[in-house]
């Protein structure tokens, strides 16, 4: 059992599985399933969704914040994610041996750090002064670390059987999750409320270093990480989707604790949070727990969404990265947000194109031409709440270049636009979508995430189940029209790795 404290939604396309499905069999199963879902809104605006499943004495608990990297502004990229890390640092009671003593030390650290930054940014900084401040900073840090009870918060849940305690930050949201034996539901309601009622962002400067290491790990030390960061930057010139969730290195290095607190105060308000509990819980009992611990969160207006809208793209964008790596090809086409009527058609279109052994690109590139070893497509990258990208990718075979694979991808896309898809092929992806939905019902955590996401991105979790009828009504014309509308050259962004030798 290896626990990484967080993973980023951006790379985990958890939701693809439940985006699309068709109707003709699930009917009954699904209607019954929907009956087991209950939702409530507290007076302060906190939304609670409860899914009953008594097949095992466990439950998944998530807190879904309607704020992520998209809510960051220039100069503060990576903020949502750093805050997610800080949300594991505890409260005034958990995570410290003596908060009375700790509080002044934390303030002192922030003050020294402030002076240090002021000095460092001077045109002619005084070396001695910097050194002195650094020494003092270190001294206070050491003093502070003696009264910190590391993992004091997480430990409470771990000891009671908490499993998979984790969090994730995406462009659209920040989500905190844990699985517990279901009789510990009240403990979760209590501790999770404390986490957001009484957070103490202790050990901020060390945790910021951890996040910087995470950037080195995910983006800078991996060819695919470097490529994706450039890819979104190229695809978006205005919308925050153009900056990787992890943020720019220089922003991270200078991020202040005040920025983190401000972000927290603005976005972590009751009206911006959704709690989802899925598993062996009694809904009435559960809502009693939630009310007991969460009702006193003050009522604030829901914070504003980012205003920037990505302007229409006016021409194809392309980048070639010559790298010490084998080739990788990534292609994106702008698409509307998840709530748009075309969403389901785009989901099917992606699957027809590149998912599965009989998809168009796999048949052509992998089986026939043998110029790629894998193909894939995602209908909503890097996010889905705002207009994202239809992402198409391929991994070229040894000795093949991304450019030659790209040319064939274009050919196959033209076919989708020029020739109407066969009804059998359409039915195949519909059946797959339906089966995917049934399979996803088996996971408490997966369903909890999907319900929250539908609630936030489309305004009602019930839309998850309405997709059923929408998908079954999709025709070959719809697919062709969507291909013609979205898969056009001027809407296209391509990023590729080619080997250094081909330069």
């Amino acid at each position: 059992m290896l626990i990484n404290k967080e993973w980023r939604i951006r790379y985990v396309f958890l939701f693809c599985a439940v985006l699309i499905f068709s109707s003709f069999i699930i009917g009954q199963n699904l209607a019954q399933y929907e009956k087991r879902i209950h939702d409530y809104t507290l007076d302060n605006g906190l939304r609670v969704i409860i899914l009953e499943d008594h097949s095992a004495p466990v439950a998944s608990f998530i807190t879904y914040t309607d704020a992520g990297a998209s809510n960051e502004v220039v100069g503060a990229t990576g903020l949502a994610h750093i805050l997610e890390h800080m949300a594991f640092k505890g409260t005034s009671k958990f995570g410290t041996f003596d908060y009375e003593k700790e509080k002044p030390l934390l303030d002192k650290l922030d003050a020294i750090y402030h002076d240090l930054m002021v000095e460092k940014k001077k045109l002619n900084p005084e070396k001695a002064k910097i050194e002195a401040l650094e020494n003092e900073f270190k001294q206070v840090q050491d003093e502070h670390s003696k009264i910190v009870d590391q993992a004091g918060f997480a430990r409470i849940l771990e000891a009671e059987g908490g499993e998979g305690m984790n969090a994730g930050t995406g462009d659209d949201m920040t989500v905190y999750l844990v699985n517990l034996p279901s009789n510990k539901a009240e403990l979760w309601a209590m501790m999770e409320s404390l986490r957001f009622k009484d957070p103490v962002f202790r050990e901020y400067y060390k945790e910021r270093d951890v996040v910087i290491e995470e950037r080195r790990l995910r983006v800078e030390s991996q060819p695919i990480g470097r490529l994706l960061e450039e890819f979104v930057a190229m695809a978006y010139k205005a919308h925050p989707y153009g900056v990787d969730v992890i943020g720019h290195m220089s922003d991270l290095q200078e991020m202040t604790i005040q920025q983190v607190k401000d972000f927290f105060n603005k976005y972590y308000v009751a009206s911006n949070l959704t709690l989802v509990i899925a598993g062996d819980v009694n809904p009435e009992q559960m809502i009693t727990y939630v009310k007991k611990y969460w009702s006193d969160l003050p009522k604030f207006e829901k914070p504003e969404s980012p205003r920037t809208i990505e302007p229409e793209q006016i021409g194809e964008k392309k980048m070639v990265m010559y790298d010490k790596s084998q080739p990788i090809l990534i292609i994106g086409y702008h698409k509307p947000a998840q709530k748009d009527k075309d969403e389901s058609v785009i989901g099917l279109l992606s699957n027809i194109l590149a998912n599965g052994r009989t998809s168009r690109l796999h048949e052509r590139l992998v089986k026939k031409d043998k110029s790629a070893v894998a193909t894939f497509a995602f209908p909503g990258y890097p996010g889905n709440k705002y207009p994202g990208l239809i992402l198409i990718g391929a991994v070229p075979s040894k000795g093949k270049t991304s450019a030659e694979v790209d040319a064939v991808v274009l050919e196959e896309i033209e076919k989708l636009k020029n020739e109407k898809i066969n009804i059998d092929e359409l039915n195949k992806v519909k059946t797959q979508a339906r089966a995917q939905l049934i399979r996803s019902l088996d996971s408490n955590l997966g369903m909890a995430m999907a319900l929250a996401q539908y609630q936030i991105n489309t305004g009602d979790w019930r839309n998850l189940f309405k997709q059923l009828d929408i998908i079954s009504a999709i025709t070959p014309d719809d697919i062709q029209n969507a291909a013609k509308k979205y898969l056009v050259l001027k809407n296209r962004t391509v990023a590729m790795i080619e080997t250094e030798e081909t330069k």
């Binding site: 626990i3 402030h114 771990e158 059987g161 270093d209 030390s221 607190k261 790596s325």
Partner: protein
Amino acid sequence: MNNRFKIKRLCIAVCALAAAIALVSPMLSAVDINYDPSKLVYPPASKLNIPTPEKFTLPNGIRVLLIEDHRLPLIEMSVLAKVGSVYDPADKAGLASLTGTVMRTGGTQKMTGDEIDLKLETLAANVETYIDDETGGAYLNCLKENFDTSLAILADILQTPRFDQEKIDLAKIEIKSAIARRNDNVMSIAAREFNRLLWGADSAKGKMVEYDTVNAITRNDLVNFHNKYFVPNNMIIGVVGDFKAKEIKNKLEKVFGNWKKFEIDFPQVEIRKSAPASVNYIFKDDIEQSNIYLGYICPEMQFKNPDYPAVSLMNYILGESSISRIFKEVRTKKGLAYSAYGSFKFSFNNPGFFSAFCQTKFSTTCLAIDTILDVANRMKNGDISQEEFTLGKNALLNSFVFGFDKNRKILQNQIQLEFSAYPADFYIKYREALEKLTLEDINAVAKKYIDTSNLLILVVGKKDQFEAPLDKYGKVTELDITIPEPKASAIAEATPASLTAGKELLAKVIKAYGGKELMQKNKSRIEEYSIALTLPQGEFSMDGKTYTIYPDKYRMDMNSMMGSMVRVYNGDTGWAEMGGNSVEMSSEDIKEAKKERSKEITWISENADKLTVYTAGEDTIDQRKIVKLVVKNGEEYIATFSIDSETFLILKRSYMGRDAMSGAPSEQEVFSYDFKTIEGMPIPFKTIIKQGGKQIMEIKMKKVEIGVPISDDLFIKKAK
């Protein structure tokens, strides 16, 4: 520090505080934070219902485990077999993995692979096969109404895979593409090389799949590998889902009933019980962090060890959880790394090991290593506190349920236990043992098993940016992970047309060399020549004289500035003499020597009837058009000959031999030039030998005598 600054800082602090209070104050005034989780009274946990799978064995030896689960209209099935890449021959590494892939993609007797793809995807069913290091098998997942169709396909895949050549070639492209990509990701480099350091780079678990080893694999190899290991008595099948056990039993009998039992003679796999301590470094240019592994083999780390429950608890405290000591020290307290962990890894019936891992910026590489070592050493001294112990024990006991919250997991556990010959109640017993553990127990296992004195250390990074040289931990070995270019060119498979063409071509070649009768008549030969050697140490030259009596006697007398050497082989034994010392040929050498003969046209002409000979494309050598002729003896590949398409002389022979320096398998290419006819036979007066694409030897013939008498005494070892 002067006062002005202090005041200024105070002002800032006060202002910041005021701002924070202003923002947060509505909350502070209203919210209740005085909760005490220790005062909570929990309702009793709902009962965890762990179903016992229904177990039975089919007459042909397939063991079956079933669990009914009617919540969703789905059925899942998995098949587990004892098979794996540990059984790959070293020169055909990749065979197991290739077999595992092409069983599924290469079709069955009834359907092609592409037909299977379409059928399954139309039903939204998944059927996959795989072969890993030490296990292999298959997996099926479908809607219940499609179970019969899916099962029939899976049963055919297991029993009668077709292994279409086209899909083998495709899988080879995939596997070679993976080889080409294997150094792209630093994490996989570190994990792979640590594994090889641990178990031995050339061991069954450490050997690498290379272009050459993949090229050497033939369709027949796949067929044989499959036939050997995929027999019913080597299979365990588990099914979970929406079905009636009785019906499934009938269905399984129907599709697997005719599969014949066959006892497998499993090759011996040596797994070492300790690895030499060493410090290893790999340079990688395009990264910004060191990837660090520390570890050692711990043969006692098997689940059946009575210490397993205590060690699992110690693992939790040491470095397996986000509240563990390694995580806290390396990440939380020092901010050195994003991921940091360390624990003992268990195996069912083989040695386990300890490993710790973290990634940190180059300038804190040694600090991270030292921090982990310090945590481990302190724990070895038995400093686990009562509090840590209680926390860990509660955590493990309370989260135990998550191993059993899905029937799928329960079934997988039971299949694994059955496969490893462990009792079915293993996990229940483990939980009981966990409950009984005391603090002394885990401090005792910490003392017993933690050992940082014989560590393997591996760092992938840029050493010029480390804060200190790694040799503080011991002598540093820099590992070269360059991907070896393919040496042997891929050997094409025979077709009826190429076999016919090959036979005809060989007849022409034999004729060009004077015919079978002449070659048999001219069995003896004396050659005098000079050799120019190109070795890593430099250039060397020597003179030599070889006496040969076909088929199996030869004697070489060599003279160089460094002295003289004699090498004799007489068919059964052989020896070398140099500077008064005599060394007998090993059985391996004799095997090689025998093989050597089989690359001569004389031997081939004699054995032409029993050899498999076929053409394999055209090419040019020095602007001469050539046809490639592959010669095999049964399944054994002998060599590929490049035949001049006008003269039918052999311009080049290529085959797998041993590297002159290392003895490792290596592609040999022998180029022949300047043919002169002696006693009716064409003899090359210049020969160039390349090994792995590099020239190592040039031989210039001075004199050749054919058919002259040679004394047998030359091949007998004289007593001293």
